[in-house]
């Protein structure tokens, strides 16, 4: 699974992108967030406030209960500020 981080998610996690192999039990975005938080340090901080976590799976904006699977591209970022 390819993970991407943007804006202050990138700064807090300390990485722009990485390959990850979460356990098979991680089947949704929400479970993936829990697993990443369990890594501690910057991840725990990045995912601390659930209200500002936004996520895209394979470049589509999705909600926290969206399924994830090996091979997916999952991106985390704060609320968008385009325009």
């Amino acid at each position: 699974m390819k993970l991407l981080y943007f804006a202050w998610f990138r700064e807090k996690a300390g990485v722009a992108q990485e390959q990850a192999s979460p356990p098979d039990s991680v089947t949704t975005v929400a479970l993936l967030v829990d697993w990443l938080k369990s890594r501690g340090n910057g991840y725990a901080e990045a995912f601390n406030d659930a209200s500002v976590i936004r996520v895209a799976v394979n470049q589509e904006y999705v909600s926290m209960d969206y399924p994830v699977a090996p091979g997916d591209e999952v991106a985390f970022f704060p609320p968008m500020t385009g325009g």
Binding site: A7, Y61, A75, P79, M80, T81, G83
Partner: protein, 165 residues
């Protein structure tokens, strides 16, 4: 048409190209967003020296295409254009341009308004402002959510509340 680019653009030339040869167009509405030298809407007017726009390239193009298609589905438009820049920009520089051309001015104006409102909350861009206190990520604000939300429910507005004093 949508474009995502680091380079600046020429508003007049873009409009010429958008309308060229199409004499069914009666009105073109354009919104251009510029970098302000004051931060945010509610932060006590802190000076900013520059702004860096980060985006998610693989997703940005998809998102803009979807937003443009939504406008074309809702209003009778002859032509539409979204140009969004990324990278480091200084006060006074152009960030974004949206333009909508229609036989009728109401459709053009409403669709232009819609496009810029939706870009604010649905296009994967993030803004880092350079201030005297260091870099600050621009927060999404409730007013932008509300503005985008106006376009989510109901039917196309035929009238809108008057604005007078």
């Amino acid at each position: 048409m949508i474009r995502v680019q680091a380079e600046d653009f020429d508003v007049g030339r873009e409009l010429e190209q958008l309308c060229e040869g199409n004499h069914a167009i009666g009105g073109v509405c354009t919104f251009v967003g510029l970098v302000r030298d004051m931060a945010g809407d509610h932060s006590g007017d802190k000076a900013i020296q520059a702004m860096t726009l980060e985006h998610y390239p693989e997703m940005t193009e998809k998102a803009l295409i979807e937003i443009e298609a939504e406008a074309q589905a809702r209003w009778p438009l002859e032509a539409t254009l979204i140009i969004h820049r990324f990278g480091r920009l200084e006060p006074g520089q152009r960030i974004v341009m949206v333009a909508t051309a229609s036989a009728h001015r109401e459709a053009a104006i409403e669709a232009c308004h819609f496009l810029i409102d939706w870009l604010k909350t649905k296009a994967p861009f993030w803004k880092l402002e350079e201030t005297p206190d260091g870099g600050q990520w621009v927060d999404a604000n409730a007013a932008d959510d509300e503005a985008a939300g106006r376009w989510v429910e109901g039917k196309p507005a035929k009238t809108k509340p008057g604005a007078a004093e």
